[in-house]
Subunit: 945 residues, 2 copies
């Protein structure tokens, strides 16, 4: 008893104990050992043979083999042996500094951060300063109750490791502060639905059994533990028989991370948290440890290995993901990402099924389609006006038969149905995800958890400090400053200008590709080689699409970097705000980048060309391009498929697989500097060293972003490309396992973050789904021939059939009205003299009183198109809202269960209460404020023990 | 000490104590008094002179003058003296019943509820049963720790009162269970914004000072108490020096209400909660007490009186509402309603200002408006086709000059601006409210509070019981049943059919009014009296609008009743679900009712009439009505203003003021049965009796509903009636004080309900605002002449001006093409022979190859109209979304303050922690599970005291 107290006193007084006394690697290990971890550690000790201690738990425990490493901080040390002496000098310095604590720090301390590349002396000084900061930070951590162990003699030269262990009392305290819900001892039976439903459920679960991963947790549990926010005052509620496993490794490290975030270095004028320390290079990295190795013969079973086998493997691609285990290992935020990705992929299955059916419907009905039959009918012998000036000649419509038939595949009534279906699908997906999210919230005990505002970012604090320093010179009133709009104005302006510039660049490139297409086409058309001329269209289309793709891919990377740079300029206050601003900017840039060429093709191409005799010219020489007969839908479709497929294949395979491997290799080479046997080397490494070589986790933004852009491809132009969901599905099946591999094997373990939802992404998804409705409405009514056909059928057709539709859509042109020098050079190309040629537009014939004016039919069709847009948009939006409203956000069974748990918890408390009333209250009522007194009594008795 | 324990034992064993021992009015008052309320009550006692005890705190305290009455239950008692004997017999019965507790209750018990109107014997039996239930319920309440006092000898014959008091321990327990946030002792300074902003704020607050109500709380507070969920383990955090006022009267009663809701009667087969008991008449009413009298010379100051003076008075109509006090007195839910109403009214000020300006703009520009000048220009001499068959003749357009000019008031470019403005206004209003709500949540310590699912409603439980009884007969497996879709199917079908029927009725009535209008017009036009004929239009319009209004008012009441009846049929599970379903149905019915005639006028009237020579006839004899020249906008405006004004005036003044007064009168007369001196009588009454005579509170639904319908008037057709916001504003200024008076003086005090938001109403508001955008788009493009004018100006006008517009909109008709018998009887009415008359439409002239066909201009205008709708809808929606997105939901200062409070709380705990670690942890670590042991130790020592 007395011993323990002394130990704590020791620990308390640690900063004033001369630091020289500590031996090289272990910080006050003596003092810590005295505290005495009785129960949980003794169990551990028993289960460990002495040789295992060093062999198989390499680096997962402190050197005593008892205390678990919950977190790692790494820092840079001088590699030369001379630095050792140097370091000890530093220690002295630290000691003396400690003594004059409270006095103002040397004024140059904060300035040092700014001048990174300075001569050797300053470098030394810089290192001094970093070392001092570390000392202070670590002593503050110990004051918070954490236990540290230092390891500078690893196989990784130049890097020192600080291992952090959180003792039980600290874990309890932090869990209470975080209001962490933990399972209590109280269990209750989860009643399944009765009778028939039960049997059906059992049947379904039997059916889907092979789809579930091979894990214990997936068995249906009949009982459930009630959860309650952990509190030391309510410890009797929890099952604390095994204190070592009560908090799992993810929870332990996140609790330690909480302490780290709260701890500050205050000696320097500029108060630094862990983020600032990392940012200024005082520490190199901070990360929790992985549970163990993923492979190898002597790897003991651990969650990471289980994840690697049951999740991060292509062989289980058809199975559900072990979401519970993912959450247990990586935390809720990453768990939610994979759950979302899973739901999205799952929802793509019906979408791609329907998409394929719609496509097949197009294929089957292509022979019954009257308009394309009319195009192909050579007897009609429709002479079309030339497609370009001079070099092109008149052509027979029947030569466009192939395109006409092909465009029917994507332009048929089923497409309209499909885009309505996909809009509702999107609404349904949202709802489904909301429900799933709610269910996960319940299962993960997140109900009642509220997002907390983050601590300010290091950069923000630094800027604020700079500002207040500047102010201090003027007025001597020291006060907590904040960045005002005025301070931020330059950054905002830069942001705005850069964003506009970037969007301008995208537009310029799209315009460039158009010019390329027009000029190449003109150049190739002039070629004398007939083969070349016949292949003009295909060549130009394909090369243009590929150029587009390459540009998109390159700009994607550029824009990502630009967005990050712009966000850093803005100096947002918190990490959350930083993330949101970054996401917003990245999203806009990438979205514009991906969809501008497509939007051009869908809505502008072929509409700006003018009419024969009065074409629109770019740079006064190039005629604006037209679409092939059969609408631009076909071209849109080609562009879409090339962009989507190319983007997914290249970005996924090249970037996501290749680049991390490359980076890891570079990291190895850099730190090895040569000639180790890699595998041998790796085996000898401690856990924390192995993890150090892994890529750091940079957030989920790129993963989400990729999926959102894909979601855009799936929903936005689905009317023109019904196979998009199928391609997305195939991509995602690979994507899930790819991401899984990355998270399990190639990244450092991320700090487990709690999250109730996917945050801003949900809003972006909603936005995309909303825009999709409008875009699809316009694609159907303006890009496809759906509306003109309907109008013809019900307003103009003499017999109510589609016969004559083709004739109705073609206007007449008198070839004598060609402008000078634009008439074809070979007017007899078709073998006969042409007086009148046809072109696709609704205009008055040359013989009307107002020749080539827009005709009444044009206005009627336009009105119908616009009316369709209004009806489609509002009906689909209404239906989405109804879907949103009918499906409750919280699944019925979950809300019932939550209610039931509340009642059970209430009962438990009431019972406890009644027990207490008889004993405790009776003595409480005798004296006012007896509670506190009785508590103090308990302490006294305790101490007298 | 021993005595206390015995008392509690007594209390515990109460059910087995022969009930005879209890004397008439006071239930186990002896046992309760023994428990001994030391601190808080002794303070009270000191402050009370003995004569005050009976005089001025009439009925607010138990008869001992110490314990506060927190809640009242009333029940029906036999008035005759013979019943007294009867009652004591009942008590015997109860006693014997208590003894055989556990055995099955008599099988007829639940059945009794169903047969309410049975002969006298059964009636007695029924009363028996009720009395037994009451006894059980009350003993259960006492088991929960509440203290009761009975009063059957009041001045109100036939009604018994049970007064409920919650002792401190119960209050603490319930507050802990409800996680009620209470102010702690820890205060911190609220830092105001620095420098210039501070001065501006001070200036503004000085400026608005007279607008604030005369209350203490409104002074700007420099310090704020940190709040923390109340917990008995953390009692040291709170300032418990005055335990009696720690929980205010609203909180006390709501804590008692929590207990009431949880307490069940379980002896009967059908477990009954308080709602069931109220529903089955076991209790007549349950309500908390008002704080005191609102007026009178001897009324002591209390919150109610303060509210009455500073809030519920027309003389303070220009002031802000004392929201904090309202919340303190009525609870958060009602507080939110008034806060919302306040914000809405406030937001109406700018809206009505802009509306008036727009209207004035119309007035000013009416003389410069070329189209109306052209109408009035008699030189043009445009002969119009007759407005009705045969009896009407040709007329000169210049006679419609007045209407044409008037319609310019509401149909000018400013209207377009105004409807965009109002859409953004609505979005802004939503955002403003969200922020205000967040601020209130913070101020009222509701952050972190989550809505809990209600207990099932009595009716639901009853139905479930019936069902399980039925099932019991078939299978002997007793299990918890629930209502399935199958059970509910009949109710759902009834709902659907009734809703459709009701909507059908509305349509039918609108159609009826149309018929009335057509037929009256025809009849009056045939009249020989020229005066009558000239006044035809006005007479018909006005009477029709009044009929519409009357029908709307009547149907409003009918629909309210129908919706309630339908919802009762549905048997929703919880009160919340009941409320939502009721609101949904009521909203649909009332909305359809209020807006169908208006929608007809806006979009259908005058569009279905056909053209001269081929009119549409209803019942083969009445020609469909047309609008006067100048569009239907004018008529829409008249209809809108009459409906809106009439509805508000009549519903507000007649129904809201008159009906409650009437009801109160009836209630008095009923219970007095004659000849008391009312005022004298009232003075002698106890507080709980006075409150009993007040109208019970039935929820906020009607109040909200009225406002939502008004919001509909303000936003939906604002394009046609820019003065709507002004009328709404005037109405609301009265409405606030009217509602205030009702709540303070005429209603029983409602149970204080916690609420974070206004619930479903917010979604309805959003829905209305969304619909408003679309409706306004259509009103501008289709009802007004805005688009045709634009089209004319930019497409057809020879000189880009509006000259010639009138001619452009009028088509030609050759009078020889009139159908047989429809040509005017007096063709020479204008004094000359008419060959060609004009009518308003875009059709081909008689001399074109396709006479009377729809012309190209029609399609062009239609396309423009539709394009405008699309552009307007999407632009406005986008702008609303941007407003929604730019304005953060949580005000900056609030989020900062919340963050700050969290940090302060954390610091507080950490300090506490560090203090504790030195003393407590040291002894905790010595033995496993020492905490529970040390606690039990404390108990032992406590007992040995």
């Amino acid at each position: 008893m007395l011993g323990t107290q002394t130990a704590i006193m020791n620990n308390e007084q640690y900063p004033s104990v001369p630091t020289k006394e500590k031996h090289m690697n272990i910080i006050s290990i003596k003092a810590i050992e005295d505290i005495g971890y009785d129960l949980q550690d003794s169990i551990l000790l028993k289960s460990l043979a002495p040789e295992e201690n060093t062999q198989c738990r390499r680096g997962l425990y402190f050197q005593d083999g008892k205390r678990r490493v919950d977190y790692i901080l790494t820092y840079h040390i001088k590699k030369t042996s001379s630095s050792r002496r140097h370091t000890s000098r530093l220690r002295d310095n630290a000691f003396t500094r400690t003594l004059r604590r409270g006095r103002a720090p040397p004024p140059h301390a904060p300035k040092d951060d700014a001048e990174a590349a300075s001569p050797d002396h300053s470098m030394d000084h810089h290192d001094d300063d970093k070392c001092l900061r570390r000392e202070e930070f670590e002593s503050n951590l110990m004051e918070m109750g954490l236990e540290l162990e230092r390891d500078e003699e690893t196989k990784t030269p130049g890097v020192g490791f600080v291992k952090i262990h959180a003792p039980w009392s600290v874990l309890c305290r932090e869990a209470e502060f975080m209001k962490l819900k933990m399972p209590t001892k109280k269990v209750y039976e989860v009643k399944n639905s009765s009778g028939v439903m039960e049997k059906i459920n059992a049947f379904i679960s039997k059916l889907t059994d092979p789809l579930h991963p091979n894990l214990e947790e997936n068995r249906i549990q009949k009982v459930k533990h009630l959860s309650y926010p952990f509190s030391r005052e309510k410890q009797h509620l929890f099952d604390l028989s095994d204190k070592d496993s009560f908090f799992d490794s993810k929870t332990r490290s996140s609790l330690v991370f909480e302490v780290l975030k709260r701890t500050k270095c205050t000696k320097a004028k500029f108060s630094m948290g862990i983020t600032s320390l990392l940012g200024s290079g005082v520490y190199l990295a901070a990360y929790p440890l992985h549970d163990g190795d993923v492979g190898g013969e002597n790897a003991e079973p651990n969650d990471r290995k289980l994840l690697y086998e049951e999740w991060a493997s292509y062989s289980v691609f058809y199975k559900y993901q072990p979401i519970g285990l993912i959450r247990k290992y990586f935390g809720e935020k990453i768990g939610l990402y994979f759950a979302w990705l899973g739901i999205y992929t799952q929802m793509l299955i019906p979408a791609s099924l329907v998409g394929v059916i719609v496509f097949l419907y197009g294929c089957v009905t292509v022979d019954d389609d009257i308009p394309s039959m009319e195009i192909c009918d050579e007897r009609k012998n429709i002479t079309m006006c030339p497609l370009c000036d001079r070099v092109c000649s008149y052509w027979n419509l029947s030569t466009a038969c192939g395109t006409g038939r092909a465009s029917h595949l994507f332009d048929n009534p089923a497409t309209v149905f499909f885009s309505i279906f996909m809009s509702l699908w999107a609404a349904f997906f949202m709802e489904h995800w909301k429900r799933r999210q709610m269910r996960l919230n319940y299962e993960w005990d997140l109900t009642g958890f509220e997002d907390e505002e983050d601590h300010p970012r290091a950069e923000y604090e630094f800027r604020v400090m700079q500002k207040s320093l500047k102010k201090d010179h003027k007025s001597q009133k020291p006060e907590k400053e904040k960045l005002t709009c005025k301070d931020r104005f330059p950054a905002y302006m830069t942001n705005l200008i850069m964003m506009l510039l970037m969007i301008g660049v995208t537009f310029a490139i799209v315009f460039g590709v158009i010019l390329y297409r027009i000029s190449t086409k003109a150049a190739l058309a002039m070629s004398s080689n007939p083969m070349t001329r016949s292949n003009v269209r295909l060549t130009v289309k394909t090369t243009a699409a590929i150029i587009n793709l390459v540009v998109i891919l390159i700009l994607d990377e550029v824009y990502g970097a630009v967005a990050r740079w712009l966000t850093v300029l803005e100096v947002p206050k918190t990490d959350k705000s930083f993330e949101e601003r970054l996401i917003f900017k990245t999203f806009i840039l990438k979205f514009v980048n991906a969809f501008t060429p497509i939007i051009y093709i869908a809505f502008f191409r072929g509409r700006l060309g003018g009419r024969p005799g009065s074409y629109l010219y770019v740079f006064e020489s190039y005629r604006m391009e037209e679409c092939a007969h059969g609408g631009c839908l076909m071209e849109l479709c080609i562009q879409l498929s090339i962009t989507m497929l190319g983007k997914q294949l290249i970005q996924n395979n090249l970037f996501e697989i290749g680049v991390p491997k490359l980076k890891k290799l570079i990291r190895y080479i850099k730190s090895k500097r040569g000639s180790f046997q890699e595998e041998e080397y790796e085996k000898k490494l401690q856990r924390y060293e192995t993890d150090y070589f892994l890529e750091p986790f940079v957030g989920l933004t790129p993963e989400y972003m990729e999926m959102i852009i894909q979601f855009g491809f799936v929903t936005l132009f689905v009317a023109s490309f019904p196979l998009a969901p199928l391609f997305a599905l195939l991509n995602n099946i690979i994507e899930i396992r790819l991401d899984a591999k990355k998270f399990v094997a190639e990244l450092r373990r991320p700090d487990a973050a709690r999250a109730k939802d996917i945050g801003i992404w949900y809003n972006i998804l909603r936005g995309v789904a909303k825009v999709a409705v409008i875009v699809n409405a316009f694609v159907i009514s303006f890009t496809s021939d759906f509306i003109p056909r309907l109008v013809y059928q019900y307003m103009y057709s003499p017999d109510g059939s589609m016969h004559g539709f083709l004739n109705h859509t073609l206007s007449y042109f008198n070839v004598s009205h060609f402008q000078n020098g634009t008439a074809p050079l070979e007017p007899f190309h078709l073998g006969f003299h042409v007086d009148i040629c046809r072109y696709k537009d609704y205009r008055e014939p040359p013989w009307s009183p107002t020749p080539y004016e827009i005709s009444k039919e044009f206005w009627a069709v336009l009105a119908a198109r616009l009316a369709f847009v209004i009806v489609f948009q509002n009906v689909v939006m209404l239906m989405s809202d109804i879907v949103d409203w009918i499906i409750p956000d919280i699944p019925k069974d979950i809300s019932l269960q939550i209610h039931k748990e509340k009642i059970l918890m209430m009962d438990l408390f009431m019972k406890e209460e009644q027990g207490k009333t008889r004993t405790e209250d009776s003595c409480k009522e005798t004296s006012p404020s007896s509670l506190t007194r009785s508590r103090s009594v308990s302490h006294t008795t305790c101490k007298n023990y």
